[in-house]
Symmetry: C2
Subunit: 354 residues, 2 copies
């Protein structure tokens, strides 16, 4: 009888450490040690404490623990959902989040989504993030590139709180970042198009002020020179990472005097826009123009023709960010920026060769 009742209560009981100590006939200190420094407490005592704890469903109160230790085992996620075009979506936010959450959980950390400077009411100050972190005793922070540069982010990265940024370099003694090998991926793309016999290779870039945009353009240029192909100014058109921008950029490329026979598009969403513009011009992919995108988002495989693209290690972002932030929390030196390898996924938009 009794055990059953106890089992039932276990979900509900709000036993404190003193209660548990009383039941075991030991002091709260010993109970605390039984959990946090098991090796320092006598084996029999420890066993009894743990057993009794299970019976009465004792759960340590994390707020009290955080208060005493100043460690919350929580990492903040800064992800600005304002300042955005309506409907803006990070190309693979969900995959990053899964990777991040899984890796953090595995290391004993939880993830707290921080309110954005925009969506908390009166507290709209520049140091809103820093304030939130301090209030909640967060051990570290991960920030996901918001496209626009929020001065609060700089404050945060320079505040000395362990801080990992995705896809954007940051300054600060305990700040680092994770990014894909954007230049390398671009080189893969250009090289692939070259192997397929294309020689007039244009590019639609991301916004110049974004890191990935700039890096992918750099890779494109580097690979062209390596291959001994000429750099034609008219072959570089800036897009905005959105479908409409890709569409517009492609139209500009088609209207120019010289038509490319291949385009490296620095983002899959833009590539879908480009695909459409090409279709509207009465041309065919890949026969008239081959296309290689970047990101390997879900649509890339679904749209006809399916899109050859440079794939990023999406879950790897989350894992790498978690590793970096946890190691800094544990006192390790600030790790260098982590560059994740990219891979080429060949699909219909670049095959068959000419």
């Amino acid at each position: 009888m009794k055990p059953v009742t106890a089992r039932c209560d276990s979900v509900w009981s709000v036993a404190t450490i003193r209660e548990l100590a009383r039941l075991c006939g030991v002091s709260p200190a010993t109970v605390s040690r039984a959990f946090n420094n098991p090796e320092v407490v006598n084996a029999k005592t420890r066993e009894q404490v743990l057993r009794t704890a299970r019976q009465i469903g004792y759960l340590p109160n994390e707020s009290a623990r955080t208060l005493a230790t100043k460690k919350s085992f929580m990492v903040g996620l800064v992800w600005d959902t304002d300042h955005r075009r309506p409907g803006w979506r990070h190309p693979f936010f969900q995959e990053i989040l899964i990777g991040l959450k899984t890796a953090l959980s595995g290391r004993g950390y939880h993830l707290l989504m921080l309110a954005t400077s925009g969506d908390m009411g009166g507290e709209r100050t520049e140091d809103a993030y820093v304030r939130a972190v301090r209030r909640h005793n967060l051990d570290g922070v991960v920030m996901i590139d918001s496209g626009t540069w929020d001065p609060s982010l700089r404050q945060l990265s320079e505040s000395g709180i362990p801080c990992v940024s995705l896809d954007r370099p940051v300054e600060g003694s305990r700040a680092t970042y994770v990014t894909s090998d954007n230049a390398g991926g671009a080189r893969l793309a250009v090289q692939h198009l070259h192997e397929r016999g294309r020689r007039a290779i244009a590019t639609i870039t991301g916004p110049a002020h974004t890191r990935p945009g700039a890096e992918r353009l750099r890779g494109y240029r580097e690979e062209l020179s390596r291959l001994g192909l000429p750099q034609r100014p008219g072959f570089v058109v800036e897009g905005d990472f959105y479908l409409s921008g890709g569409h517009a950029a492609m139209r500009r490329l088609l209207e120019a005097d010289e038509r490319p026979d291949a385009v490296f598009v620095a983002g899959d969403e833009m590539a879908v826009g480009a695909l459409r513009a090409i279709g509207e011009a009465g041309l065919k992919v890949p026969e008239d123009i081959a296309l290689v995108g970047f990101d390997d988002i879900e649509v890339a495989a679904l749209v006809p023709p399916s899109l050859t693209t440079v794939a990023q290690d999406k879950a790897g972002f989350g894992t790498a960010a978690a590793e970096a932030v946890v190691s800094m929390i544990n006192g390790a030196d600030t790790p260098p920026p982590r560059i994740l390898p990219t891979t080429l996924v060949v699909r219909g938009s670049s095959t068959p060769p000419l």
Copy 2:
């Protein structure tokens, strides 16, 4: 000079309430009241406290506050990333999350992503969620339908913690759920196809054990009877919400004796698969077969022909969930299930009419 230093320090100082009280020449109790019960403290005193607080950059410690009040102003998000096919993605998780976070932030709550029973190490027990909630003094919980039914979820919803589920009915005195008007959406789809002159309307359903799957099928059937169209058993094929399932289901429909001239597909991803199967069979959409999907995911607009579909109020999910959970936290009666309206988005796959 001094003010500047103070401003600088403000980010760093770890002033406590006693420190602040000392500086103002009042007791900690008064400071606490100045923040939490402003009306009960003398106007001049209050002003001075707030001003000084700003100067020295005082920030209340949330752990201490939670410890004392047992309110954490945090809501847990249960989102199981295990048990999944690799690469599984909720059709519009990101939009829901944005809505949820924004609505919660606006109400003064933060969102804590709970580790899944799977990804925390030793603690893999059935009451893992309940334990996490209690340890962190979470005020409430939102659970996003994980597709598979985890017994821990039932424990959670029946634990008496304010709890809102998305797309799945739940039991529990302080538990409710938010869902789209799936049946109504299905009726819209069928009605639309009927208006377009189609009479042999088949359906590819979601898994029967999922709520949205069952409801959409119900709506389809209801609308058929309302329109006086016959229910042909062969016209109902079960899919799995994934592309491949939609593809397979469509093939079964095409192989049958009687070919439909329209199909209501209970999910956009399946609809893309169906689109493909139809193309492979040498038929054309919408000329031979019209298609209406469900969800209005991003690809729906991108795939050719673009997909007519039943749109769900994606951000509305998050907002409604936030409203419900916060109202329960504030002691209101458990609100009834919230059914969000759906709308028909007409695109190429169902136009022009026959």
